[in-house]
């Protein structure tokens, strides 16, 4: 399988300036490759070839006229739960199969205004409910690193299409979303960088909501530099999302040097949980040792409520879903069943036809937890435990600057093994290390560090307090440079 350049966005951009690569030619070439390779990988819910070639032409003109925009000619993909004007946005659900937004999500709008070119919308578990990128009306996506595409590895989820589109070199960056780990989980399995920002730094306007209190847009790229560049382009307050932080956003620059002598890194012991594979544990152990060798102070710490995160998450997710999804009734947009006998019958049939069983079961359970007699027992109780999970972080960050943990417990599972478990249990295992950050709203980044004995990516996660993005990115960059994971792409 051939793949696009392993150049960074900045390097590619320079090639555009030097006229050694033309954005239009690159776009056309990339599409011919996408069409070939995507048959195996099934990454996209829609391709936007005509749009992309037109935009690439505009980029080329601006470059020739010396009016280049920062991301001119840079190909990007966007998870199919972000609204894209005039491009269908389906959430991989029959419910929105006929939905074409009339506006752009803010984060995508900013990319487009900076010159980036959309190649397509990427696959996900229906409405983002899953961690395999398998429960989609478009079928499952396959992991780029699979040993055998007839017996593929999952790419993780729910932003599995986004992660694979970057890994396969179909684009330089992708927008994903992260509610319980949906950006970091597939990034980990697919060998790409995955970033979840501090809640409120990236606008959610136009991101079709799953769990409002935890959803954030995420960024997937090959390298830390690229990830930071995209983040700097799209971050900041948005009048259209009242939950963005109002403070103006100042672009982040990487630290020239990390002050290791004063860097305290916490190792939360609870992240060595049941199911953690020895290979991931070894990588985690080695990386802690390596940071110590460079002068960092490494502390084993305890965050006792970590293990309760996935249970809290399951309750809050199902409750918010049952409430959020009442909007899908077939009247204003989306699928409409052929039943005009009564309004209630139309709603029921529309929803019965439009949602898959995972969505339906979550709505059902959410409504149970929200029943008057259950509200305190489950919903309110979950919110209290959420506070305890969040407090674990506040306490930890009084003593350490960053946390180093695994991202996922193993390398990418085989699809045929993964589907043996129920969706709920899939998520419980897959999101163990990622979900706590969403509870607390803190930023987190996952970086691929090595290949497993199966020749699949193994990744580690860094978490920091709110607004610690500069230190997170800088430390991630240091690790990235040291392990040189990108060379594995050259070897393929």
């Amino acid at each position: 399988m051939s793949r696009l350049t392993t150049l960074s966005i900045k390097q590619l951009s320079r090639k555009f300036d030097e006229k050694s690569i033309c954005p239009k030619e690159l776009t056309i070439k990339t599409f011919s490759r996408i069409k070939e390779d995507n048959k195996k990988l099934n990454v996209f819910t829609a391709l936007t070839e005509d749009h992309a070639i037109r935009k690439a032409g505009e980029s080329a003109m601006r470059i020739n006229d010396g009016k280049k925009l920062p991301l001119d000619g840079i190909l990007v993909s966007v998870k199919d739960n972000f609204c894209t004007k005039s491009v269908p946005t389906t959430c991989a659900s029959k419910m929105l199969k006929n939905f074409t937004p009339t506006y752009n999500a803010t984060v995508y709008d900013k990319l487009e205004k900076a010159g980036a070119i959309l190649v397509g919308k990427t696959n996900l578990d229906e409405f983002g409910m899953g961690s395999g990128c398998i429960d989609s009306i478009f079928g499952s996506s396959k992991n780029f690193w699979s040993e055998d595409y007839n017996n593929p590895r999952i790419c993780g989820g729910s932003s599995g299409g986004s992660a694979t589109s970057v890994a396969a070199g179909f684009c330089m960056a992708s927008l994903g979303s992260d509610t319980g780990g949906s950006t970091r989980n597939p990034a980990s399995y697919c060998g790409v960088v995955g970033f979840k920002p501090t809640y409120g730094l990236l606008s959610r306007h136009g991101l079709i909501p799953l769990v409002n209190s935890m959803d954030v847009p995420g960024i997937l790229t090959k390298s830390v530099d690229d990830c930071l560049q995209i983040f700097n382009t799209i971050a900041g307050p948005d009048k259209l999302d009242s939950t963005t932080i109002k403070k103006p956003f100042n672009p982040i620059e990487l630290l020239k040097q990390i002050d290791f002598k004063n860097l305290k890194v916490g190792i939360p012991r609870e992240y060595n949980c049941e199911g953690l594979t020895s290979e991931v544990l070894e990588a985690w152990t080695k990386m802690a040792d390596f940071l110590e060798e460079n002068g960092a102070q490494i502390h084993e710490i305890s965050m006792p409520y970590t293990t309760s995160s996935i249970f809290v998450y399951s309750i809050l997710n199902q409750c918010e879903v049952s409430s959020n999804f009442s909007r899908y009734d077939g009247i204003e947009y989306g699928h409409r069943a052929d039943d005009e006998t009564s309004t209630e019958n139309l709603y029921a049939k529309t929803r019965a036809e439009g949602f898959n069983n995972v969505v339906k079961n979550r709505i059902f359970a959410g409504n149970y937890f929200l029943l008057r007699k259950n509200y305190d027992k489950y919903f309110l109780k979950a919110l209290k435990v959420r506070r305890l999970v969040s407090d674990d972080f506040s306490k930890a960050f009084k003593n350490v600057d960053l946390l180093l943990t695994p991202t996922t417990l193993s390398d990418a599972p085989l699809l045929n093994e993964f589907v043996k478990n129920h969706n709920r249990d899939q998520c419980a295992v897959q999101d163990f290390c990622t979900c706590p950050a969403n509870m607390a709203g803190i930023p987190s980044i996952t970086i691929p560090v090595k290949l497993s004995s199966n020749k699949l990516p193994i990744s580690l996660q860094l978490m920091g307090p709110n607004f610690s993005e500069q230190l997170l990115f800088s430390t991630a960059k240091f690790i990235e440079d040291s392990v040189d994971f990108l060379s594995n792409y050259h070897k393929m």
Partner: protein
């Protein structure tokens, strides 16, 4: 001048050679702080299995409007409740619920004024059925 260039050259060479240095995944130099044994949850894993009554199913079906195959749906629901019930083993006395991580921030409220308009076409565009392109339509 020459010395400076030479210095730069040496720095460049060290940089390049350090780039090529292969990361040694085997060697551990310090006593590790990463726990090598699985850490068990400190909370009881005890769960409760709740049986859903006919009345509750009826109510949930009415609230959810999703038309699930009943037997399967009830089993999945009972599993979900059992899964969720693990949080009951955690003491939350005097703990305030955390509704939003932005609880210490003042969220923006806009003025109660119309900020757009003349987008009727856009608003109606995604409805399967409309009346004269002017209204959404529900069954009579």
């Amino acid at each position: 001048m020459l010395t400076r260039n030479l210095k730069n050259l040496i720095q460049l060479r060290t940089f390049c050679s350090s780039k090529k240095k292969i990361f040694d995944w085997k060697e551990i130099k310090f006593k590790t702080k990463v726990p090598q044994e699985t850490v068990k949850s400190q909370f009881s894993e005890k769960t409760e299995r709740i049986k859903i009554t006919e009345n509750e199913i009826f109510l949930l079906e009415k609230l959810s409007l999703v038309d699930l195959e009943r037997k399967e749906a009830v089993k999945v629901l009972e599993d979900s409740i059992e899964f969720a019930s693990k949080i009951h083993n955690i003491n939350t006395e005097n703990v305030e619920p955390l509704y939003t991580v932005l609880e210490n921030y003042q969220l923006t409220l806009r003025d109660d004024k119309v900020t757009d308009g003349n987008i009727k076409k856009d608003v109606l565009r995604n409805a399967v059925k409309t009346e004269e392109d002017t209204y959404f339509i529900a069954p009579k």
